[in-house]
Every structure is written in structure tokens, then in C-alpha cells.
Amino acid sequence: MMRILKWLGLAIVVIAFGGFLTFLYYIPPFFSVSPEDYVKQAAAPAVSLDGITDPAQRAIAERGKYLVTVSDCGGCHNTPGPEGPDPNMYLAGGGKIGFSGAGTAVSRNLTSDPETGLGNVKDDEIKRVLRSGVFHDGRMMHHRQMPWNASSNWTEEDRHAVVTYLRLVKPIRHKIPDPDRAATFDDKDAAGHFFGQDAGTVPAPIN
């Protein structure tokens, strides 16, 4: 009797484990959502511009909204939630970019919150990041991280439209942690060859 139970128990464990692995193997990770729903999901959190009364401002903002949407800024800059990007945290940053051996970078908060977002960054300074990959404090951005050399190709007027739109995004207080500096970052052979120089060694900016 005991022997049978023991074998039965073992069999159950084996079957359960095998079943679990099979289940794990066959989980369809992404395709339960239709293409149309993905498109809606990506476009949904964008700001409604209906409230803008000045038609000029609205036309500019519409253009910016379109550029921000199709350029998929939210793909990196939306805050991740438990069920995909959190729709209440549109462009509030916090998406993680992990690199094996090179640490994790975190996307910045693009809303106009003064402390944690772009509230205290001037329009021209935002444009400079998008155009040249140079931050308001002189830090350099790598083009493989944020592809500023694609946003650089926008006409200045399109870039203006993008910034106009970003200013309309609801300010959200969301502190973005400093990216963790990779353990192997100092290994110039590994990480260094992709970005050459640690910006921290640059002589200090003046004024």
C-alpha cells in the first residue's frame, strides 16, 4: 500500500513538474493581444488636445503629438506597470535598459515636473538634446542608448512641435534613480569600446 502511494506520489510530482515545464515552454508570451489592440495600447495614453483653444498652439501640438507617437518615445519613456506600460504614467520614465555586464540604464522622466522631470529644463536645452545629444549640463548622450542622431534629423520646426507637445504632458513626480554603474564599466575592452570615453573625465564645464 505504502509503496503504491510512494510511486503514485512520485509519479504525480514528475507529471506536475513535466507539465509545468511544458506549460512554461508553450506560454504564448505575446500573441494573445491582437495587432489592432497593440496599436491602440501604444497610442492611448497620449494627451488629448481638445482643450487647447488657440488654434495655432493646437496645430503645433497636434504635429508634435503625431511625431512623439509614431516615433515611439513611449516605448522607452513610459513607466512600466504590472500590466504593460502604466497608462497613468505617460512619459514619466523609469523603463530599464539592461546590458549584461554593463549595468542598467533607466529612461528619464519627460514630463514637466520641476524636480524629477523637465520642468526646470529650458525648451532650447531639450531641443539641444534632441538635436545634438548634449544635455543642459554638458553631459554627452550615447546615440545607441537614446537615438538622438535620428531625432537630430527632424527639422527645427518639427523639433519645436515635439517640445510644445511634451510641455502639455501632465507633470508627474517620478524620481528616476541614477543608473547603476556597471561593474565591468571600467573594463575598457568590454564596455569602453562602444563609447570610447567616460564623460566623467572631461575637464569641467565652465560657468
Binding site: I27, P28, P29, F30, F31, S32, V33, P35, E36, Y38, V39, P55, A59, T69, V70, S71, D72, G75, P80, G81, P82, G84, K96, I97, G98, F99, S100, G101, A102, T104, A105, S132, G133, V134, D137, R139, M140, M141, H142, R144, Q145, P147, N149, A150, S152, N153, E156, H160, R181, D187, A190, A191, H193, F194, F195, G196, A199, P203, A204, I206
Partner: protein, 455 residues
Amino acid sequence: MTMLVRARAAFAAARSGRVAKAAALGGALGLSASLCVGAQAPRGAAATPATPSDGKTIYDAHCANCHGAAGKGDGPASSLLTVRPRDFTLGRYKLRSTESGAVPTDDDLLRTIKSGMHGSAMPEWAPFLSDAQVQAVATYIKSFSRRFAADTPQAISLADPPAASPDSIARGKGVYERLKCASCHGDAGTGRGAVNTDLKDDWDRPIAATRLTEPWTFRGGATPRDILLRFRTGMSGSPMPSFKDAATDVEMGHLANYVVSLARKPVWEMNTADVKAFYEDLNRQERSDKVARGRYLIDTLGCKYCHSPIKADGSAIEEFMLAGGQRLSLYPFMEPVTYNLTSDRTTGLGAWTDEQIKNVLTRGVRPDGSRMLPFPMPWPAYGSLKPEDLDALIAALRSLPPVSNAIPAPKEPSLIPYLWGKFQFLILKRDIPSTDYPGNAGTPGGASSWQTRAK
């Protein structure tokens, strides 16, 4: 039901770690550091005068990303830019106060570094570098070309252009016609009606004639004197010649006044009625020249970022631009390879129908009916493209010269790592580190696996 919930969770996890997995984005990623670590050196340090060795340090940190460590204008970030960074090795500079063909003076270089070049990615460095640092960089930049050692540049003496008046502008218009400026810059500087539309620079790369109606894009400034200087000395390296022998200084001064008079307001200075008219006109233009609009979309959406194989420094291999071949790691799912977007019939999009391209671009459904993951290819975002932009994009893709580059099928993971990866990803909810760029596929040259180096 459980399946569905799990699937959603998986999606959530995937979206949240989106870029992580989407190798693409990461590409070169050592970079976290560049963004993050930043120039945190104490600000007072700059009080000490810059030495020539500082020139190299500053150049490597601030300039080499576009202009290349050897000054060849081929830095890692350069290949996606439509306005290419200057190659310093030939000593040819656009913004000079010296005769056509001569090297620029130090003052010319300092001014360019400090104020940047409008309408290009070159930023103004004055807010970030002291005069001594700018001088040190300029000295270092000069060392890339032997011409600076051989020549002593002399600034030309040039009278100011005549005061702007209706008469001067009318004369300038005559000069514009006589010198056939419209053949490149179009009627009244709008670009429309231009005959020379496929201009190449000295490096045989496409270059666009500046729209004279948009003074905020004039590389070297938009005052009548700035403009006169460009006419008088030319813009070396570009198709813009010096008109020294074709017109007198005074005539060129009138021309400068005429060009200034062509300016329209930028959208940020327009009043309501102007903005409306501006966007209507822009939409009309975009619809009338599909290929141009499509190329603009390709350049600004960053298609080249993933769909070109890259070298170890993160720059694209030019001969294979848009011909696909970046292998991306979507650990633990698979390692897909970006597709060849050129019009090659066997390995690219040449034999695809418009409908098939649209299906991939906006719905993530391949011609064989299989579905793409919602990342790294951002088709959920492209699903919002306007129909006319989609058509333009396809027209532009069709116009790409065919490049043969066979793209291999995605590499499937082996069973055990796959299961273990999925377990960590879905159940332990770990941020799984991923390499984004394990090397090119199907393309000769380029980087080898980055992961193996990073351990």
C-alpha cells in the same frame, strides 16, 4: 484563463523591460555610463589654462562621437545624421573668412565651435567650454590636416554689404537670377523648381541645398554680412562655390540683402493664421513629393538604427545601410536579425507587395502570416502612421538601391536556457540582463559578439 493572465503578465514584463530585451535599442550599450555618469568634475577645475593635451581629451569626449577619433567625420553617431559631420583630414571648411580653397583662420574655427552650425547636429559649445578649452580643441582639430602647417590663413578684407533697401533687394534679385542660384536653391529660395536635386559633397555623400527661406538653418549665421561672406568665400567641401569671379562684392552684398528678404517666419514666431496656412502648405508638399517625405520619415524614425549592421564602435557599415543584419538578443525568446529593407528582389523587399510591407509595418504580421513580437520593431507605434505617410514610407523604401544581404532566420534558444530564462522572466520577475548586440549576421565585417567580451 490562466494562460491569458500569464500571457498578459508576460507581455507586461516584456513591455516594461522592453528595451532591455529589445536588444536593438541597446546596441552599443556601454553607454549607460555616458548618459548617467556624466561630467561631474568639479566646476572650479577649469580655471587652470587648457594645454594642448586637453585639446585631445576634450575632443575625444565631446567631438569624436560624430567627427571620429581620427577626425575623419566618421564617428559612431555620424552615419544616421543627414547633415554629415565634417571630415577634418582634408582641411576643407565651410565657414571661413579666407579665400576659397584656403584653410580657415583660428577665429573662424573658434566661432564655429562656440556658436555651432545651425541646421545641423553641431551644437554651440560656448556654454560648456572655456575660451582656453575651445582654443585647445581648435588646435587639436588643426593637427588632423597637414594643410594648416603649410598655410598661414589670411582673413580677406570685405566691406559690409550695402544697407538693405527695396532697390538693393531688387538688384540682389537680378544677381540671384544671373548667378542661377535657383538651380540649387529653387525659386525665391524655397527649394521648389530646383534642377540640381541630387547634390553630392566632396565625400560623394548626398547633401541638400539650404532653403533660403529658413534663415535659422543657415550654418554660419543669417546676418547680411554672414551671408555675404559665404558668397565671397564659398563653402568648401560642399557644392556651394565662391562667386568671387562672377560678381563684385557690392553685387554680392545686394544678393545678401535679397536672401535676407526671402526669410519667412519660423513656426514658433507665427500668428494663428500663418500657422494654419503653414501646416496646410507643409501637408501639401509632403503629399506631392512622396519619396522625399518617406526619406524624411526613414531618417527621423531611426530605421537605420536597427536595420543596418554596425561596427564595434556602434557606427553603421555604410555599404549595408538599411540592408539589415543586426542580430538582436531577445533573451530568453530568440535572436532575430533585422531585415533587409532595400529593394533587392531575393534578399530584400523588392518582391514584396505594398500590402505585405504595410502588414509588417502597422500590424506586425509577416507575409507568411506569422506574427512579430511587439518589440523591438515598434510596429505598434507605426500603426498610428497616417495612410499618406505609410505610402510615402513605402515609396521611399522602394527607391533604395538594392543591396544583396541574405538575412538568416532567427536563432532559437536551446531548451534548457529557454525554460530557465522564461522561469526567471515570468515567475521570478527578474530583469533579465540581455546583450543587445551579439554581432552582425549575414554581413561581412562588423563587430563580433559583444557579450563574449563583456563576460
